[in-house]
Amino acid sequence: MNPEQEFPIRRVIDEQGQLVGDRSQVSDAQLKDFYQWLVTLRQFDQRAWNLQRQGRIGTYPPYSGQEATQVGVVAALSHDDWICGSYRDWAALAYAGVPLHYPLLNSMGHAIAGHIPEQVQALPVQVVIAAQILHAVGLAWAAKLQEQNRVAVTFFGDGATSQGDFHEALNLASVMQVPVIFVCENNQWAISVPLNRQMHSPTIAQRALAYNIEGIRLDGNDIVAVYQTMREVVERVRSGQGPVLIEAVTYRLGAHTTADDPTRYRPPEEDEQRRRGEPLSRLQNYLQRSGLLSQDDISSIDEMAKETVDEAVQTAEAYPAASLAETFEHVYGELSESLREQRAASVRGGAAHG
């Protein structure tokens, strides 16, 4: 078996922004909306980076380069489909309806950042690599049992595929034939570990063969390929045809987090080459090339994005501080006697030495 042949990369718009496939499932309006999202999300990501550098927020994990995958996937979902992502999936959450100041609250250390707004069906971001993959299987399973016609989507990295939970999740999902879509954001790196030290196989999609489920490899920097493929996959999965594994081939443009220095481990040539395919300029090129986007449009979208991001920053910075007392509230549904006493003591302690 030749995996690269068996799992060809689906692509509709190439690195230069040329149409190389069928884009009949995505309207011009949709594409322009995607563009606006990608611009806003990119600006946000860069602003967050800067805020961290200024000491205004804590550790932040940038998603730049992966926006097309995150947005394209979520765009193909219904509002009550489940989303279970990792720390790097704030773009997906934002597109799903989580306000943009949430990731900032998160990096500022506010507990509320985990409280996904009620109208969004998503779990809080996951830090433990691969754990959320099993939650998605369970959510999809619950949906199937309750005949809810919902699917669950889970995002995870290339590194996550090495974890036992990845394997156990795909196996269980295939045995139970639950409506879950596994989206691997293969950004080539797990912190400093490149894909070829993570696994000996050329593709991640081929792991689907182990579970007798469908595996699809696509260009994760091409939002059209992502969106169109997902539309098709979501429909199939929703209709009960079992789980699907998607490998979205993409690239982490920035550092792993604000605490990381990728120059320690990324060869500059490879970096240079990989950056070329990044999703935002690609989409912009295509839209400009096909006359769907003028220079004026670009400026005004940039402007609007800046406003949106400014607002998110202001909201986050104006947010009331988290309190220690709150920490005791959500350990259990009810405060135990001992926790009640500890909470009281913590307040007294604070008062005594405030």
Binding site: W82, C84, A111, I112, A113, G114, H115, I116, E118, L123, P124, V128, A131, I133, L134, H135, A136, V137, G138, L139, A140, W141, A142, A143, L145, Q146, A152, G164, D165, E168, A169, N171, L172, V175, M176, E326, E329, H330, V331, Y332, G333, S336, E337, S338, L339
Partner: protein, 325 residues
């Protein structure tokens, strides 16, 4: 009302819960067709179907991790870990996932999940099958830990656990599965989590035990009664959150305490009980709080397990020692 063994009481509780609430489901290794290796889930698949009684692949992390999703997604999963010693495979899904979804989501989600697991010695199992691990889970905020000691308690506590909005580890002492019968009401009843049970009242010493050690504590109380020592025996029932008030009140009265657990001694849950007693009943204490426990070795081979396990004689010795102090 019937005279049931603990395993029958558990089976009945599961059937009752599934009957009453269509969201309740059972999943685990061999829980379906086989009815569980101890028959805890016997007959449930025939009665409630393959959707609600699920033989899973052999993967504990998948069992617990998917159950977290099932619970958030609206079901009420009762997962079985075939033997507690294998729960380490699901440790992350319990310790950083099930236990923290409420906390992580600042109250948006919670995980009404019960994880049942047989544990403890006295039945000559192969390696790992007899390990006691309640102390480890008692140290993890966000999960509750329950250990029944009688058929009646088992049914009522299990039903309360299934109704509880948070993850509950329900640890079943294997050696008590069939060791005694007790009258158990046929209907639904709950025994509240977090409350200790006074097994017998006494004035001279408080013996604190749970699960498999409750009958041992009772037997020890019987032995020392011959010496004129009247013991108060308390069954903790729930290890986390535990009912320290009942214990403290008792020790304030008796002035002496002996804690009995089968688990290893170092940082076993007895350590927490002893530490709390001396903190909160210091001035009442006439003698150090003693612990009678398994030794700090792995659970031993079957040939010596009876010697390794705390028995009534060892407990009685400790009681005499504390009374004579």
């Amino acid at each position: 009302m019937g005279s049931l063994t603990m395993i029958q009481a558990i089976n009945q509780a599961l059937a009752l819960a599934m009957e009453r609430d269509a969201r309740v489901m059972v999943l685990g290794e061999d829980v379906g067709r086989n009815g569980g290796v101890f028959r805890a889930t016997d007959g449930l698949m025939d009665r409630f179907g393959r959707d609600r009684v699920v033989d899973t692949p052999l993967a504990e992390s998948a069992i617990v991790g998917s159950a977290v999703g099932l619970a958030i997604g609206g079901m009420r999963p009762v997962a079985e870990i075939q033997f507690l010693g294998f729960i380490y495979e699901a440790m992350d899904q319990i310790g950083t996932q099930a236990s923290r979804m409420r906390f992580r989501s600042h109250g948006r989600y919670h995980v009404p999940l019960v994880i049942r697991a047989p544990f403890g010695g006295g039945v000559r199992t192969p390696e790992i099958h007899s390990d006691s691990l309640e102390a480890i889970f008692a140290h993890i905020p966000g999960v509750k830990v329950v250990v029944p000691a009688t058929p009646y308690q088992a049914k009522g506590l299990l039903l309360a656990a299934i109704e509880d909005p948070d993850p509950v580890l329900f640890l079943e002492p294997m050696r008590l599965y069939r060791s005694m019968r007790e009258e158990v009401p046929d209907d639904w009843y709950e025994v509240a989590l977090g409350q200790a049970r006074l097994v017998q009242a006494g004035d001279h010493v408080t013996i604190v035990a749970w699960g498999p050690m409750v009958p041992v504590a009772q037997a020890a109380a019987g032995l020392v009664a011959g010496d004129g020592i009247v013991s108060e025996v308390i069954d903790l029932c729930t290890i986390s959150p535990w009912d320290s008030s009942t214990v403290i009140e008792s020790v304030r009265k008796t002035g002496r305490a002996v804690i009995v657990h089968e688990d290893q001694r170092q940082n076993g849950f007895g350590a927490e009980v002893a530490a709390t007693i001396q903190e909160q009943a210091f001035l009442s204490l006439e003698a150090p709080v003693l612990r009678v426990t398994g030794y700090d070795t792995p659970f031993p081979v079957p040939m010596v397990e009876d010697l390794w396990l705390p028995d009534a004689n060892r407990v009685a010795d400790a009681v005499r020692q504390t009374v004579a102090y």
